[in-house]
Subunit: 211 residues, 2 copies
Amino acid sequence: MGRPPTNTKLRLLETAHELIWRNSYGAVSVDGICEKANVKKGSFYHYFPSKADLAMASIDWWMTNTIPFLDDIFSPSRHPIDRFTLLIDFIYEKQEDMRIEFGQVCGCPFITIGSELAAQDEIIGAKISAITQQKMTYYQNALRDMIAMGLIDEKTNVELKAEEIYAFITGNMMLARIKNDLKFMKTSLKPSLMNLIGVNLSAEDLKKLTI
Amino acid sequence: MGRPPTNTKLRLLETAHELIWRNSYGAVSVDGICEKANVKKGSFYHYFPSKADLAMASIDWWMTNTIPFLDDIFSPSRHPIDRFTLLIDFIYEKQEDMRIEFGQVCGCPFITIGSELAAQDEIIGAKISAITQQKMTYYQNALRDMIAMGLIDEKTNVELKAEEIYAFITGNMMLARIKNDLKFMKTSLKPSLMNLIGVNLSAEDLKKLTI
DNA sequence: TCGGTATTTGACTAATCAGTCAAATATAGA
DNA sequence: TCTATATTTGACTGATTAGTCAAATACCGA
């Protein structure tokens, strides 16, 4: 029935996500997105009613892409400590890839755009908050397994601890973006995170946690 | 000699700082700053060569304003644990004030603008990185006193620990901005920070750390 | 081959953007 | 009162912004 669908919408989502992540929402124009995606402006507004709508959709699209990776990393079949160390590996590798390709450590796309726009647009604030909550759920699940295995204090408040972990990791990613430097993330984030979680590792084991 | 100086430049610095902090660099226009500061555009460009220059100057201005508070909070005459709890009080009170006045938790102005612009403007990235380093120096100083007093492990790497503390606090401020919610900062940040620092407090003492 | 439908195009608008500049103004010191 | 100097003004530009729209196009299924 009619003209067949194309990948135009997807190209717009991908391009918007990359440009906004590497720069910022305010620094990226609809014209810029269209040019890079090789899409005419008329087509843009055929698929998205506004620039803000595209940004929202690209956030959703990226989170949907991310979930399978999180499901793998936080698979209950893994040792819970490995889940967190794998998470740091996953984050570090992506950041390093972007640093090599674009010359810029880009940090967390959700937090970057959330920090920029949450104060002006409460819908985007709510969306990023929901993503934050969703990620913390993975952490809570792993923390409960750690308690069950006697790896951390059984009186640990997993909701609070998950929020600490999230703040700590995103704080590091933010600083890495600002300093355009992955040194701390590469050499210290894993052992620091283990200390924050409260898991007891030998000095030897801690040393192994540098990427 | 000639027409006497006015507070026009200061009004521009204050206004730019407030508007950028509450919104974002990209969302604030030179016209908007001028209108709020009651300054004509010609005067703006008499004092600042560009919008970016004003933003840089407003960052410097705010940091200069902040230093006396940090000097007080991190006075060597204070108990080092008190320095950190006072720091959290200081941060929380400012955030709560802005939440009441503007309806919005605004987070850290340096990190917010740094996250937005560091990838596009390496000068601003370097400036925020320097401010970050300057703040961590206060933390390092306090950590060394804690070691001397036997409050934390003497083998603590104070440079790394200071970076952890900074990432943790700024991560929390960023999340507070995105969620427009100070709950965690009010009830949990102090004890969480004490745990991260590695200071041993009794359960009773920990409970006292809610603001 | 043709009709219906989704997609694409390019020219368009109106608003806003950062930035310019020559002229007007105010005042301290001579 | 005069002059040097710093400040202020308001109209101006040219570029860029997000967003609009009617017409053209492509193709599936009948």
